[in-house]
């Protein structure tokens, strides 16, 4: 037994990695909750104010059916941006940059997001079936379309 205990149980310490070698995930929201406790939420925001929006979160929250053409999705996205921006006359929408060489594919793999259809030449009348699946790999072309539209 003494000799057996001299050897590690796996290639990576179990305190850092799961049994299949992937990084142990943390509950990041814990940190946000701890910090939230320090102040009361507010609804009094001084004016004039400017808005910066996480673009991909906004697109992911759009209610899109298989019957909607891309022009309708673009209109819905713009309406949502203007609605979120409220009275602000200056709104920034910031998207992720999707590089081929990146740490993000590993992150997406951890989130069990699989392969999906990608179409780099989108047209305004085109309908995207399974919008959620398309978003997984088609963000670059979708964002380019939204900006161009």
């Amino acid at each position: 037994m003494q000799e057996a205990l001299q050897h590690s149980l796996g290639p990576l310490p179990s305190s850092w990695a799961t049994s299949n070698g992937l990084p142990r995930r943390t509950n990041k929201a814990q940190a946000a909750r701890e910090l939230e406790k320090l102040v009361q939420p507010t609804d009094k925001i001084p004016s004039p104010s400017k808005y910066v929006i996480d673009g991909m979160v906004l697109v992911q929250k759009l209610k899109v059916s298989d019957q909607m053409a891309l022009r309708q999705i673009a209109d819905a996205a713009l309406s949502r941006v203007l609605q979120k921006g409220g009275n602000s006359r200056h709104i920034d929408v910031v998207f992720n940059v999707y590089n081929e060489i990146s740490t993000k594919p590993a992150e997406r793999e951890l989130r069990e997001e699989g392969e999906s259809v990608t179409n780099s030449d989108l047209t305004a009348g085109q309908k995207i079936k399974h919008f959620r699946n398309f978003l997984r790999n088609g963000q670059n072309s979708l964002i380019t379309f939204l900006i161009g539209y």
Binding site: E34, T42, D92, V97, A106
Partner: protein, 167 residues
């Protein structure tokens, strides 16, 4: 009405009639989280009273608190979940934490686990946060973490932090 939007590494300013590339908002940052700060700083013109960041991401919150001191106007984070909308005064949170802890928060967040760094099993975020509050040594170390490629100077302090977290 001015709408600034990123597309890959470029940024465009859209008005009712024009589309114009904004060179100073070009960024190779892969995640929107860090790019949002660049846009917030750009948006914080002298006549502006507040910049509101619409994102419920924890990384965005940590980044905003860490850089709140560098922002010329108050920053607010608006989070909308399924059941409620909440708006927090990030500059106020940074004020409560104090400058040293706020600046150290980013290093601590990276070390205790994020998207690209595994976490230590059984150690969450609250205990390391309390230790950061209570020990100046950890504040200095976490501020330095990531500033240099070499972390040799931080290792002994990081080890003590791990021991205290598990103990």
């Amino acid at each position: 009405m001015e709408l600034y939007t990123t597309c890959g590494t470029k940024c465009y300013k859209l008005t009712a009639d024009t589309v114009q590339e904004v060179i100073k908002l070009s960024s190779g940052q892969e995640k929107a989280d860090t790019c949002i700060l660049l846009h917030a700083k750009h948006a914080a013109a002298p006549h502006v009273k507040a910049v509101i960041i619409s994102s419920k991401d924890t990384d965005v919150r940590i980044l905003c608190i860490s850089f709140a001191q560098a922002m010329p106007v108050p920053i607010y984070q608006r989070c909308v979940s399924q059941h409620q909308a909440r708006c927090d005064d990030i500059s106020k949170i940074a004020g409560v934490l104090g400058q040293e802890v706020s600046k150290a928060l980013l290093g601590l967040h990276a070390f205790t686990g994020c998207d690209t760094v595994s976490t230590f099993a059984g150690i969450g975020k609250p205990r390391p946060l309390k230790l950061l509050h209570s020990k100046n040594e950890f504040q200095v170390m976490c501020q330095n973490l990531g500033e240099q490629w070499s972390i040799t100077d931080c290792v002994s302090s990081l080890s003590r932090l791990c021991v205290l977290c598990t103990g």
